[in-house]
Amino acid sequence: MADNKDQGAGSRRAELGTGVWVFLMLGVLTFGEFIVGVIASPWGSALLLVAAFKAFFVIVYYMHVGRLFTTDGDGH
């Protein structure tokens, strides 16, 4: 029983930790986009690539697209 509680707390911490590092990465990339957009705006394609990279991380880690391919009611 205590083991289950510890396991639950550990998984909660890990999930919250993932949320933090994804957010930090998105923040750094967005600030990088801003700097590039202000000083070298013709680099539109590169900026779109960065946006696609950011979107990938949100779709995988925040939207949990992987849950679509599980059949066991994962997470609930």
Binding site: E33, F34, Y62, H64, G73
Partner: protein, 187 residues
């Protein structure tokens, strides 16, 4: 009991598929708007306040962070933390709307009828803002249901659906931010 759990898992899988199909169909609208921007404006972009663009973008990113926390907390049965994080997400969504519709629309040096850049800017931000507004309304419903104790660690599809929708709105803005504020030279 086990058949109830099995039927909930089946329903959940169908709900997830339905939501993602809806989001894919909705994304065609946004892709269409983005392509319109590329065709009509090309290597130019509307002359907008870039600091304001960065600030509203940061608000939306931060709101996604708190929405993710809200979902994780509900999945672990921590209702007070879920309610707190969902509330913060709603406030940040409201501030984003205020920044775009209340400030950026007023500061823009053109109107919706002033040529291609006005049409593109107001159509893109308008459609997106409408999605943010519906997202905030959905979050309010989920927050209120959470307050009434309608979600549990085992069953909280409403929370998951609202979170996925909210992150989708964030993903759309990632591309719109580049298209409106960063790509090309200001007209």
């Amino acid at each position: 009991m086990s058949s109830h759990v099995a039927s909930y898992a089946t329903k959940l899988a169908r709900n997830r598929l339905g939501l993602w199909l809806f989001l894919i169909s909705d994304s065609f609208l946004f892709v269409g708007l983005f392509v319109t921007r590329v065709v009509l404006l090309g290597a130019n972009r509307p002359d907008l306040n870039q600091i304001l663009g960065l600030v509203v973008t940061a608000m939306l990113l931060l709101s996604s962070f708190f929405m993710n926390r809200a979902e994780v907390e509900m999945a672990h049965g921590n209702r007070p933390a879920f309610l707190r994080n969902t509330f913060i997400t709603m406030v940040l969504g409201g501030l984003f709307l205020l920044g775009v519709v209340g400030v950026e629309w007023q500061l823009a040096p053109f109107g919706p009828g002033d040529g291609a850049q006005g049409a593109v800017f107001f159509a893109m931000t308008g459609f997106h803002a409408f999605h943010v507004l519906t997202g905030v309304m959905l979050l309010y419903i989920v927050w209120n249901n959470g307050r009434r104790g309608l979600f549990s660690a085992e069953q909280h599809w409403g929370v998951e659906a609202a979170a996925v929708y909210w992150h989708f709105v964030d993903v759309v803005w990632m591309f719109f931010y580049v298209g409106l504020y960063l790509m090309g030279s200001p007209v």
